[in-house]
Symmetry: C2
Subunit: 287 residues, 2 copies
């Protein structure tokens, strides 16, 4: 797994390196792409491919595309007019280093470039139907009905006490849809049938919510040093799982989602070891 992450990092560098474009903007895109991160999204793609006994290499371009989308969303979310964060993964945020204008453009550039990668995708045995299906799913997961919509709802929810339904809407859209896309993309690349695709999608929805609940718990129990960011959700008076359910209630909810996710995996006729490992990781991560 750590080997496949190093593959992703190398490929991301190569994809940026080959671009003929203004130097500062290029540095800015590269800076945030290489700022570390857990690469949980690529891992989900690879683990899903492994579940179908596929060569995980065929997932590499999609893994890079999704990391570009994820990175662009962090750059834009950190902007002064959005969450106004100075630190991300222990390093100054993009706009702190390159200024707001370049940060906005770096985000725009990464977002657009990710679709170029997916339309190229010259990897072995990927049909045009599969490529188009992956482009469609990524755009839907990242766009107005997905991540962008979730971010807008998140901002509108600041300084308000949300219901649990409203909070779940924000999280399934802001982070969940892109995580779910990764599992779906792995399944599409593996030629999964509709039933399996749907079961894996439900699995991914559970780990997406678990991921976010754990995020909220870490905002209370974690330290800035380990998280590499300031505890901004408190600063913005955002509703969180612990604030709505108590800390103990949030922990219970987290375990429920982990349990449901694993029970889906157990019933599928696939090699789900890696997916189970990631599920456990999400429940126990400390940063």
């Amino acid at each position: 797994m750590s080997e496949s992450i190093s593959h992703v990092n190398k490929e991301l560098s190569k994809y940026i390196e080959r671009l003929e474009m203004p130097e500062t903007l290029k540095k800015s895109m590269d800076y945030s792409l290489q700022a570390g991160g857990k690469r949980i999204r690529p891992l989900l793609i690879f683990a899903t491919l492994a579940a179908f006994r596929k060569d995980i290499k065929i997932g590499l371009p999609v893994a890079c595309a999704v990391e570009m989308i994820h990175t662009y969303s962090l750059i834009h979310d950190d902007l002064p007019s959005m969450d106004d964060d100075d630190l991300r993964r222990g390093k100054p945020t993009n706009h702190k280093v390159f200024g707001e204008a370049i940060a906005i453009l770096a985000g725009d550039g990464l977002l657009t470039y990710s679709f170029q990668l997916l339309s190229e995708l010259n990897e072995l045995n990927i049909s045009e139907t599969q490529k188009l299906s992956i482009i469609y799913e990524l755009a839907k997961a990242a766009g107005p009905e997905g991540m962008v919509g979730g971010q807008a709802a998140d901002m509108e929810g600041e300084n308000q006490t949300l219901t649990l339904t409203e909070l779940e809407y924000i999280h399934t859209h802001k982070t969940g849809k892109l995580l779910t896309f990764c599992v779906k993309a792995g399944a599409i690349l593996s030629g999964a049938d509709t039933y399996t695709l749907e079961r894996l999608e439900t699995f991914a929805n559970h780990i997406g919510l678990a991921f976010q609940i754990q995020d909220d718990i870490l905002d209370i129990e974690g330290t800035s040093a380990k998280l590499g960011k300031t505890q901004s959700d408190n600063n913005h008076n955002k509703s969180t799982y612990p604030s709505l359910l108590t800390l103990a209630g949030a922990k219970k909810k987290l375990q429920e989602h982990i349990h449901l996710a694993k029970s889906i995996l157990r019933k599928l006729p696939l090699e789900t070891e890696q997916l189970e490992k990631i599920t456990d990781l999400i429940g126990k991560r400390d940063h």
Copy 2:
């Protein structure tokens, strides 16, 4: 032509209407999409299809996608940290109405959604190869090696005297590549051969530059009322064609590009009346 523009406007409304997403963000996306504009990009797609005697309706989804991209770029360019414009097409800019955060997200949403449209494209007789080719060309034209790169270079060039080569880099990237994409997309949808595609691309490069030179001339000779925007390039001390070539020199250069564009059209065995009309329009427009 005005009929086809009204088709585009209606389709754009429908594409936004069907989205399930936070209401404010939806209004913000719709506000800028419906703010008018000349729809020159859709017209180029339709005129190219007409040159091949194709039904221009097959270009409608691509026309909508490119208007979304163009609109997103205007929303982001107008932001306080970019060109800081209060007026666009005679109306308050997006961030003036909805705030910076929603304006950034509206741009992100339009950009992402445009690729979703293109991956759906269920229109008659468009092959998967054509769809992927259009997605690739649009991402390349709009991304770091295209429009986004041009905007970054434009911002870096503020308060500097540029060479003509540097100025042309900015304009071929910031506006030219997307205009060229429209002609290419029309040609791809028409199944054009490689030679014709290349000739049309060169044609489009000329009208792209003509468009920008005329823009610079209008910034001197036009009125705010007709332009619907403040004369911002002067405010930012940007180099322009008239500042590098004198006003008379810029007008001469404009006519050269118009002449070269038309001479390419005349040698192609196509029905190029509509493309010629647009070329004339670009040379003579007053807003």
